[in-house]
Symmetry: C2
Subunit: 449 residues, 2 copies
């Protein structure tokens, strides 16, 4: 069973419900929407991401013989359940915000329209894919905002939560504007530029720091970035200066040095001076080590002469907000809009659309959340991406998604973009939507009594 594609990568209740739906003939069309209920404290907006992997998952959804066998042997289901699943495919519709769209709480990011059983089955993996990439893209864009003109590289795979998290984080960071990632596999899988040179172990395995620098430079003459904090950062910077002429004779340029510990602002200033005085004005300073958008902003505010940042653990785990309050909820079944009213978790009912209005200068003005059949001024954000279980378009080039992110962010109010205590715009529900919600509540009230 393929851990990344198996339809058994779901919650058990999806299968128990599915059996009941099939038994009771509850196979009419359902509308589910994935959205975020509430933004974390330090997020003024979200960057929608993960749709590409969702479409891939839906297009390939099927139970293998091995999976059907497990269902038969598990003792958890009716005797004929596995047979009923055998031909199950996703043949529904998907409407979605294009990846990279800037959005807010309550906005449907992906809308699935399909027979109830299959639309239900895919819930867990859809959330899993959309939640994580949206989480990371929405964190990564903050690093870009903190250091708009710097080289940003994702360093986080080792402490990302598993392999897929490392890979998808690399993708989400790239979408948000990063130069690339250290994770090699992200290049063959997604075409993301990869970066990297040496670790401390490389220095330690040589008989001296200078020997390690020289060994690396001669072995990788086009990619000389030397890690200089293994013992004493400034002393190592002086060794770099002393080594440079000899390397220059061999036509080798020292592209940058990397600092990975200590007071990075102080070290960067001192190292910059040492390099400059040593004639290495073109040698950049690259920093890593416990970084995130807050620390980067601090470093730059202190005037640290840093040219690029490797950002790892805190980014790939979205450490200050490691999850989003996201949900995939049934909005209509068999043409009937529905509403969950659980305390603190009530949803806007019905199949919806969002219309975005910009002002005369192209700045964000309003997102209106309404029923799909309404019409409002502005651009509808949800667009059809899958019909009859088939994609309507080939995968979007990453460059296009990156442009969409930058364009969307540029149009946002400054208060939504700032790093600390941002103000997240709220979508405006339409009158028709508010009416429908009230009507459903009244009906529910009447039915309960």
């Amino acid at each position: 069973m393929d851990p990344l594609r198996s339809p058994l990568l779901t919650d058990l209740y999806q299968l128990t419900m599915l059996q009941t739906y099939l038994e009771r003939g509850m196979t009419e069309t359902a509308v589910f929407e994935f959205f975020v209920r509430k933004l974390p404290e330090n997020r003024g907006f979200l960057v929608a991401a993960g749709l590409e992997q969702v479409l891939d998952f839906l297009e390939n959804l099927r139970f293998t013989e091995e999976e059907l066998d497990w269902i038969r042997r598990s003792g958890k289901f009716a005797a004929d359940f596995a047979d009923r699943l055998e031909g199950m495919r996703f043949e529904g519709e998907v409407h979605a915000l294009p990846e990279g769209t800037v959005c807010f709480a309550d906005t449907p990011i992906v809308q699935v329209i399909a027979p109830l059983p299959v639309a239900q089955l895919v819930e867990s993996r859809l959330i899993n894919l959309l939640h994580f990439q949206t989480l990371i893209a929405s964190k990564a864009i903050r690093c870009v905002l903190a250091a708009p003109d710097k080289l940003l590289v994702d360093f986080g795979m080792r402490r990302a939560h598993g392999a897929e998290a490392g890979l998808l984080a690399a993708r989400a960071c790239r979408l948000a504007g990063f130069a690339g990632t250290a994770t090699v596999l992200a290049d063959p899988l997604y075409g993301i530029p990869v970066f990297g040179t040496m670790a401390h172990s490389f220095i330690l395995a040589h008989e001296s720091e200078t020997a390690a620098f020289e060994s690396f430079a001669r072995s990788h003459p086009d990619n000389v970035v030397l890690l200089i904090d293994t013992w004493d950062t400034e002393r190592a910077a002086r060794k770099v200066v002393r080594l440079a002429p000899e390397l220059a004779e061999a036509g080798i340029r020292i592209k940058a040095v990397r600092l990975d510990s200590g007071d990075l602002a102080e070290h960067a200033k001192k190292v910059r001076r040492i390099l400059d005085e040593g004639g290495l004005r073109d040698t950049g300073i690259f920093c890593s080590g416990n970084l995130d958008e807050f620390r980067i902003a601090e470093l730059l505010a202190k005037g640290a002469p840093i040219d690029g940042f490797g950002i790892g653990t805190r980014l790939d785990t979205s450490a200050d907000a490691p999850y989003l309050d996201s949900a995939y909820k049934l909005m209509a079944y068999a043409g009937r809009p529905v509403r969950k009213r659980s305390e603190g978790k009530a949803t806007w009912p019905g199949r919806k659309q969002v219309w975005r209005r910009l002002d005369g200068d192209g700045r964000w003005l309003e997102d209106r959340l309404g029923l799909h059949e309404e019409s409002h001024p502005g651009t509808p954000l949800l667009v059809p991406v899958m019909q009859g279980g088939k994609r309507l378009h080939p995968p979007e080039p990453m460059e296009k998604i990156r442009e969409r992110v930058q364009d969307g962010v540029r149009r946002l109010p400054e208060a939504a973009r700032r790093l600390r205590a941002p103000e997240a715009p709220r979508v405006t529900p339409s009158e028709a939507l508010v009416d429908l919600a009230r009507r459903l509540d009244e009906q529910a009230e009447a039915a309960i009594v």
Copy 2:
């Protein structure tokens, strides 16, 4: 390329260093150790986990033709580099704490002894696997400590960071003492019991709550757990009471109700009363919704009559501490111990061992960290698990690991076990280790000047 097994699931610097090591003939034996530098604020101990997946990864390490092709085409490496990688296998030794061992900061959890190039190559994925499962097992055990006699189920896959995180979190929770998980695929992959019944969408898709309850009960007569918070929790509890006699006639018992929102303590008390008065004393109350060890402890402290908990997002993301300050560091090369001294990141040098002493009553007394060749009273915790690239033992039964966790936790001081402001025991470095560290620092100092 298999995203979970590819040797390209690594950081680029591992490959650039590897090329240099091969070119310079730096292929002597290296000792690397994986350890945690410092525990997060609310952790008094760690539960080592992830070794099983590490051994599997090491045993199967090889570059496929496709991966070698990528290396050739990437333009990042020397012309003959791919050829040198073709036959590369992991043929080294691994020593490790058995999974489920309770441990602390600075303790080598896994020790890899192999030629430098391959020991370096595997760093990123080893950290990725060990860090995440240790993180989650160390969080899950806190839920077990908060609710030792309750049924605990992992509900977190949907907001775990990707598919592998969801699956490995299910495994880590089970090791720590959970009854099971909602994630279906964890049963065929790891033999973990799975749990689940219905979502709100199931209620909403039916014409009424009672119809949904009845529909489910008749479809799954052995697994009737009814979700009662879609509209009004107490009213729904009364519906359950009214429905019970009819189901009882059909031989169907209502095993439990589930609450997923609102003030769970208040609701649980009211629902308990309604069920008891309705003759459903055997029907349990199961709770979910934004839970973690802190909230569970609060609920139980308030006397909430809850029989089981579904714990999701905050557990699978280890939300209060979403990463550990972990590292995989070179400790010796070619028989020579080495020490990184980067500020705030200095390591204890050399190949090490940890000896654990218990007092006469079997309670934890001391972990002593020393050099491998030393001898100290107590039980050495690192044991050989792989030699010549082959496992020395078949995978450990999960039950055995679960017992090891419970046994280890029982022996800990109360101060290490408590949920808030725990005191994490510290390992004691041996005299020989302290001496060696000082000696290496002096040598480094001499070399720098």
